[in-house]
Every structure is written in C-alpha cells, then in structure tokens.
C-alpha cells in the first residue's frame, strides 16, 4: 500500500466491518426511537452502543472501546433497564402524536439537520487522515497515552469531572430520597388499624369476579365497575391496571355485532366502530 492510500483509506476488513455494523447501528438507533416499549428501546440502544464500541476499537481508541462496553452498555444501560422496571416494564408509549404538527416538525428538523451535517462533512476537506499509530505508541500504548494527557493537560477538567460526579451522586440521592415525615407504625398499631378499619376481612383478590385472574386485573363490583382495591398498590401506582370492565363491554358489543350481522341490522357497522376494543396502552392511560 503506498503512502497516499495509507493516508486516505483503511483496510478492506475495516470497510467491510463498517458497512455491516454500521447498518446494524442505524437499525438499532431507529428501533430505539420507533419501538413502543421502553424495554425494547433500551435493548436496541444497547445493541447500537456495542456496535459503537467496536467502532471505537477499530478507530484505535482501545480504552474508550472497552469503557464504552463496560460503562455504557454495562452500567448505564442497566440503570436504564432498572428504572424501566421500576416505572413499569409494560408501560408502553402510544405512538399516537398529541401535539399538532409535532411529528412533522420534528422529522423535518431532524432530516434537515442531518442533511446539513452530512453536507458540512462532505464539504470539509477531510480526505486525508493521520492514523493513531504514532500517538498510541508514543507513551507505550493507548491507555498510557490517554493517562498522560488526562493527568497533565486535562488535569483540571478531570478534577472538575470528579466534583461533577460526586454532585450528581448526591443529587440523585437527594432527588430519590423520600423523607419519612412520621414515625413508622409498629406492628401492633397496624393490626389495630386493620381491625378498626373498613375491611375486616382480607382484601379481595384481583380478578376474582372478573373473567381473568391476572394480578393486574381488578375485580368487578356487582354493578360491573372495577374495584381498584383488589389490585396491589405497586401496580396501582404504576397505573398498570387493566380494566376488564371495558373489555367485557367490548365483548358484549362484539356479541351484539355478531348477532346483528346474523339478523342483518343496518347500523351494525356503526356499532362495531364505536365499540372497538381499546388498546392496552390506552387502557393504562385511562387508568391514570
């Protein structure tokens, strides 16, 4: 390979790797944005990040590549997943846009921005590159080279980063910490409360009077309305109660429709449209 080629192109292997993994990264990014459920998004993002880690390695940033995997994919993404679980694994976005024109504006801006960036990069005269061989070996390796820079030229920034991290940690603790404003109840008090309260017998179990017996489906009261009491508190807070009352109504509607079809009624279509079974996402929103 002559000198010019070394300064303008990379090895074919890297090119091959780039085109394959690049595609994967873009797909991962797209699915992060487009998938309904947060968990799926998180997993696609993790994929993209791993791909990026590989790219770092390919670019000679060995340290960063490893850090990317360990810190980002390992720690940060786990944190994301953890929070997703806390908030509700099944809590899925409706992809229905509520703000008028937001989606088109957003897409337009992003596209325009991307095109601008790409045009800018294309315009810049970046045809040659130096490669990191010399820089990486100057101090005996990539890690040593980085360390050399961090502890000399960038030592201030590094120190400040430390302060930032500590502040962030404390901040997170403060934000999530809940002050206990009253004395914790003793077991005795709780039992007394229980006896004096409205529900002397144990709370009804979920799903008992409903057609499902899943934990997130409330029991139905005699008049057909759901009773939130039957669902455990955590789920209630997350808003993950599935309201079967509407589902049963929908079933009823379906029944009517079918019988209507059989009887050949005129307005069957209208009835059917109005009684479209609600999606689970809407269910959860309605419960909030």
């Amino acid at each position: 390979m002559n000198a010019l080629a070394a300064a303008t192109t990379t090895s074919t292997g890297e090119a091959f790797q780039f085109w394959i993994l690049g595609t994967v990264a873009v797909i991962g990014a797209l699915s992060t944005v487009l998938l309904k459920r947060a968990v799926h998004s998180a997993l696609s993002l993790a994929g993209t990040m791993i791909v990026l880690a590989v790219f770092y390695l390919a670019n000679g940033a060995y340290f960063l590549g490893i850090v990317q995997i360990v810190v980002y994919t390992g720690a940060i993404m786990m944190l994301f997943l953890f929070v997703v679980m806390l908030v509700g694994v099944t809590a899925a976005d409706s992809l229905k846009e509520t703000l008028k024109g937001q989606r088109w504006l957003a897409l337009g801006c992003s596209l325009g921005f991307g095109i601008l960036l790409i045009a800018g990069i294309g315009n810049a005269s970046l045809s040659t590159f130096n490669g990191l061989g010399a820089a990486n070996t100057a101090h005996g390796g990539n890690v040593e080279g980085l360390a050399n820079l961090i502890f000399t030229k960038y030592v201030f920034a590094f120190e400040i980063t430390g302060a930032l991290l500590i502040t962030a940690t404390v901040g997170a603790m403060v934000l999530t910490h809940r002050e206990r404003t009253e004395r914790a109840k003793t077991q005795r008090e709780m039992s007394e409360e229980r006896v004096r309260g409205k529900h002397l017998p144990p709370l009804p179990a979920p799903g008992v009077y409903a057609r499902h017996n899943a934990v997130d489906i409330p029991g139905l009261l005699p008049d057909g309305t759901p009773s939130e009491l039957t669902v455990m508190q955590t789920l209630r807070q997350r808003g993950q109660i599935r309201d079967v009352s509407r589902q049963s109504l929908a079933d009823l509607k379906a029944l009517e429709q079918r019988s209507g079809e059989r009887l050949g009624r005129e307005d069957a279509d209208a009835v059917a449209r109005g009684a479209d079974p609600a999606s689970p996402a809407e269910n959860s929103e309605a419960a909030k």
Binding site: T8, F18, L107, L111, T128, F129, L132, A135, Y154, G171
Partner: protein, 99 residues
C-alpha cells in the same frame, strides 16, 4: 474506505437521536435518545482523533462519557421522583412551563 464515513454515520445517528427526543413522550426513551446523540458525538470525536493523529479527541470523548454518566444518574433520579409524584413518565404531563 475513508474514515470520514464514520462521521457520516455519526451524523445519521445524531439526527435519529434528535428526532427521537422530539417525538417520544416517555421520558426514559427520551433519555435514551439523548444518550444516542451523545454517543454519536463520541464516535465523531474518536474519528477526529484518528484523523488528526492525536489523542485529544479521545480525551474529550472520555469526558463526554463521564458527563453523560452523571447526567443519566441525575436524570433518572428526576424521572423516578417525577413518576412517584405524578404517576407518569410522560414528558407531556409536565407542561407547567406555561403560565
């Protein structure tokens, strides 16, 4: 192949992340998209580092990672506490910026 392709990829990822921030309503996903944008920047920085032949770009990328980590910690804490008080992780629910 010229490493400049990495830059195109970074721009693409950045744009995708940005659109995600603007479109998604779930705060957690919004956050993920922000991370995606940051990662795109990092990729660009690493590539620059290679093109210039020095390690400064990598250092900046490293700092970006640290800052991102701190941001995620605080951000997620905010989301959790927001969720606790409002029972929702939708960014549209916090529309208090209006007078």
């Amino acid at each position: 192949m010229n490493p400049v392709n990495y830059l195109y990829l970074a721009a693409l990822l950045f744009a995708i992340g940005a659109s995600g921030v603007l479109i998604r309503r779930n705060a957690i996903v919004v956050f993920m998209c922000v991370e995606l944008m940051l990662n795109a920047c990092n990729l660009a920085l690493v590539t620059f580092s290679r093109m210039h032949g020095n390690l400064d770009g990598q250092i900046v990328a490293f700092f970006t990672m640290v800052v991102a980590a701190a941001e995620v910690v605080v951000g997620l804490a905010i989301i959790v506490s927001l969720f606790r008080s409002r029972h929702s992780a939708s960014v549209d629910d916090a529309s208090l910026m209006k007078l």
